[in-house]
């Protein structure tokens, strides 16, 4: 398991107030990031990784991180590459160059989705109010990445620590996700 460099990448958006800030769990909006959808055949995996700066994960639901880089396995020929927002052009150029001879599709999806950080002792509980998959550490260990659903919308969920997760959803779905998380957390305020 690679070290997690999430702080550099998925950092809270300093300009935004916390969406939820309880002792047991908090929900913070992430600052913008460069996100690329990479689709390619097996032969493209190695050169793409070299260009991006880490080995693309080939195990299902796996992630790899390096300084200022994260790569997520999303499907057998699909990865999401994440880098700081300012690295977008540089990453895109490097990958396009490395894959020039390979059939591939590299698409900028930086703005398609937004990210939040859900962390705290009750993070998994809070997520499971809408996420139907098992988030127990045995079933969903550190570094696991997957798409799934939160109530009625598709999301992506990445475990970045025993009690911390990054959730991504398409921009127009994020209000639904955060609204329901905040509402579900109300009972944690009860005496």
């Amino acid at each position: 398991m690679a070290d997690f460099q999430t702080d550099e990448l998925f950092g809270p958006d300093a300009s935004a107030a916390p969406l939820l800030n309880l002792d047991a769990v908090s929900v913070l909006a992430c600052a913008p990031l460069a996100r690329l959808s990479l689709r390619c055949r097996e032969t493209g995996v190695a050169p793409a990784g070299t260009a991006f700066g880490l080995s693309l994960p080939i195990e299902p639901l796996a992630s790899e991180t390096a300084p200022n880089r994260a790569a997520f396995w999303l499907g057998p020929d699909e990865w999401m590459l994440v880098a700081p927002e300012s690295h977008l052009d540089q990453v895109m150029d490097a990958c396009e160059t490395a894959l020039a001879d390979q059939p591939h599709a590299l698409v900028d999806i930086s703005h398609r989705q937004d990210a939040i950080i859900v962390s705290g002792a009750k993070a998994a509980w809070l997520l499971n109010t809408g996420v139907p998959i098992d988030l127990h550490a045995d079933a969903f260990p550190l570094g696991t990445i997957t798409r799934t659903v939160f109530h009625k919308v598709p999301i992506m969920i990445w475990r970045t620590g025993p009690d911390s997760f990054v959730i991504e959803a398409w921009g127009s779905f994020m209000e639904y996700v955060t609204g329901l998380l905040v509402q579900a957390a109300d009972e944690l305020k009860a005496a």
């Binding site: 299902p60 139907p132 659903v149």
Partner: protein
């Protein structure tokens, strides 16, 4: 809610993440214009719709996004096997027999 094994992700996931795509192994003719009206009708509309062991397409739409095939008993809703798109259709009778054995062995 069914629990479905995705052969690409290698995990069991709730039905909420999937969409059923109807009967499997209905290949679109390679040269549609060469088909007769009857053949095209069969491709478009005719399905076996069995009560029992059925090979059907599923897509892990809120997961890896892949289509795969699954053999399900439409009576018990039990999945007998799943396999990746492009892999040959398994012997449904053999699967049914194995399932029967497993049942009585319980």
């Amino acid at each position: 809610m069914l629990l479905i094994h995705c052969p690409y992700c290698g995990v069991d996931r709730p039905e909420l993440e999937f969409r059923c795509g109807g009967e499997a192994h209905i290949a679109r003719p390679l040269h549609p214009s060469a088909t007769t009206d009857e053949e095209w009708e069969a491709f478009l509309y005719l399905r076996t719709n069995v009560k029992g062991i059925y090979a059907e397409r599923w897509r892990h739409i809120h997961g890896c996004g892949r289509f795969f095939n699954a053999v399900r008993d439409t009576v018990s809703d039990k999945f007998l096997t799943v396999y990746k798109a492009g892999e040959p259709k398994p012997d449904l009778d053999a699967l049914a027999r194995d399932a029967q054995k497993g049942e009585t062995g319980k």
